[in-house]
């Protein structure tokens, strides 16, 4: 669960990135966050990951009050969140398997668990044939699926996808969102930041529109996909 209470962020440069934002995303929700660039979407994500602190207000994420969270506890917070970036951020010197296993190694998981969990998650994103390949040998869509597997492998409560379709073919974008939707159906909260309105219109659901640091619109809309079926 993510909750923002009267949150404002002013950067040291004097830029007001967020103004008095109130927002609640419940466990199991799927929400699109949309808005033009510079609207405050990235600031929102940085707040959730505690890369930055709110200048005012309270941010609650998966039971952590980020205002009171000590630096040494930040890793514990981040272990409850899976992040997918626009630029994938895979480690080029590691195979697909190693990239995914890396997350579990980092949190000191037992070797036996790693050996069973990693192939399972890789199969969830449909890349079982590519487990031994390096990221550079994969297409953009495949790389983003690896990133998704990496975000999933630790069974996080929340997945944040920051423009996950920004660097891949439009046709493959739908696949990625489909994957995120199916992950959400298993109970994981998903927050997807995007500026691709076609995708949002197609899938529908909860849409949060941020404009100039404030929430301009936060409602459920029906997607065109639902009309198709």
């Amino acid at each position: 669960m993510v909750e923002f209470k009267d949150v404002s962020v002013t950067y040291s440069s004097g830029v007001d990135a967020l103004n008095n934002v109130n927002l609640k995303i419940n466990d199991g929700d799927f929400a699109f966050v949309v808005g033009s660039s510079g609207a405050g979407k990235s600031t929102l994500i940085k707040l959730i990951l505690k890369e930055i602190n709110a200048t005012e207000g309270t941010v609650l994420v998966n039971g952590f009050n980020l205002k009171k969270l000590r630096r040494s506890k930040v890793p514990a917070l981040r272990r409850t969140i899976g992040v997918v970036f626009q630029d994938f951020r895979l480690i080029p010197t590691m195979t697909v398997y190693e990239n995914v296993a890396f997350v579990l190694r980092v949190i000191d998981a037992p070797a036996k668990y790693i050996r069973s969990r990693v192939p399972y998650v890789i199969s969830l994103v449909g890349l079982e044939d590519k487990a031994k390949n390096y990221p550079t040998e994969l297409s953009g869509g495949e790389q983003q699926r690896v990133a998704l597997a990496r975000a999933l492998v630790n069974d996080p409560q929340l997945i944040i996808a920051d423009e996950p379709t920004g660097n891949i073919d439009p046709a493959l974008s739908y696949e990625i969102v489909d994957l995120l939707k199916s992950i959400n159906e298993c109970g994981t909260t998903v927050l997807m930041v995007t500026h691709e309105h076609d995708l949002v219109r197609y899938f529908g659901g909860r849409i949060i529109n941020i404009n100039k640091g404030s929430i301009a619109f936060d409602e459920m809309i029906g997607g065109s996909r639902d009309n198709e079926s």
């Binding site: 890793p75 190694r105 980092v106 949190i107 630790n154």
Partner: protein, 301 residues
């Protein structure tokens, strides 16, 4: 931490040496050169000190004994001199010995001049060596006050020169070694920073997936330590080779210089253990600490 994780971290550290081989090689070279510069400077200082101490040990005061005293008073004088706190040894050097010695140093023609000398003109002397050359002149003056002492000749001026050479040398060498250490640390931290900078993305990802700072640092620490140890081993071999070459030159080809105490150099074997331990420890320390400090700069995400 689990054993499997520890094994993984050590493995990662070793793998990244090869993965980042250019940077590892740069760190290796820097640590090697640093250790060599500091190590050689220290070795030179140790040996210069030893040479000077050797000269000091050899420099002695000549105590001329009054003519015609009996053996009993001579021995009493010897005991008296030996009783002084700064006196290391007292050797009797009879006028006959001195005469023979002097003649043996002369060429045949010169000896001819003395062939018909009816009496040995040289006096009996004590050769006195001191413990602390700085106190040589005080000791000489004390000996001069004793009965049956005719005069004392001591190389006080030479002693003063030696002492000041030693003082200047130790100041210069300390400054040089200190400066070298500072320069090396700066270069090493910059090199490792570049090596860590090349991997900041990796560190960044680790932070996002919830790795603790310790977990991120350990592979860097191990990597730096291994590179440092390898560099130390190479530095040791080079130092040994260079040292022994120089040592042999002094031992074999410069025997004439032995008056200057150059044959007092330490053989490398005698210092092998100390040099090995200091190289390995400082190599591992510089490598490990340098790398993990630089890694720390990228941990604030």
């Amino acid at each position: 931490m689990r054993a499997s994780s520890a094994k993984y971290l050590v493995g990662q550290g070793m793998k990244s040496i090869w993965r980042n081989r250019m940077m590892s090689f740069a760190s290796f070279c820097i640590i090697l050169v640093s250790l060599l510069m500091v190590g050689v400077s220290v070795l030179v200082t140790i040996n210069l000190n030893r040479i000077i101490s050797g000269i000091e040990d050899q420099s002695e005061a000549a105590v001329t004994i009054k003519d015609g005293i009996d053996e009993k008073s001579r021995n009493a004088l010897k005991d008296q001199i030996e009783g002084l706190p700064n006196v290391a040894s007292v050797t009797f050097y009879s006028k006959d010995e001195a005469w023979e010695n002097m003649k043996s140093d002369m060429s045949d023609e010169q000896q001819d001049l003395f062939r018909y000398a009816d009496e040995n003109p040289l006096p009996d002397t004590f050769r006195v060596t001191v413990k602390d050359i700085k106190l040589m002149s005080d000791t000489s003056m004390q000996i001069e006050t004793f009965d049956n002492v005719d005069s004392v000749k001591s190389p006080t001026q030479f002693a003063d020169v030696l002492v000041s050479i030693k003082n200047i040398l130790s100041v210069i060498m300390t400054a040089v070694i200190f400066a070298l250490i500072v320069v090396c640390l700066i270069i090493i931290s910059n090199t490792t920073r570049a090596s860590v900078f090349a991997r900041r993305k990796e560190i960044n990802i680790m932070k996002y997936v919830g790795a603790t700072n310790t977990f991120i640092r350990i592979p860097f620490f191990i990597e730096g330590m291994i590179v440092g140890i390898i560099a130390a081993a190479a530095a040791l071999l080079l130092t040994q080779f260079a040292y022994e070459s120089v040592y042999n030159i002094f031992k074999n080809d410069m025997k004439l210089w032995s008056v200057l105490g150059v044959d007092n150099l330490y053989p490398f074997k005698k210092m092998f253990l100390k040099v090995t331990v200091s190289y390995l420890v400082s190599g591992a320390f510089i490598g490990a600490v340098g790398t993990s400090i630089s890694a720390g700069k990228h941990l604030k995400v």
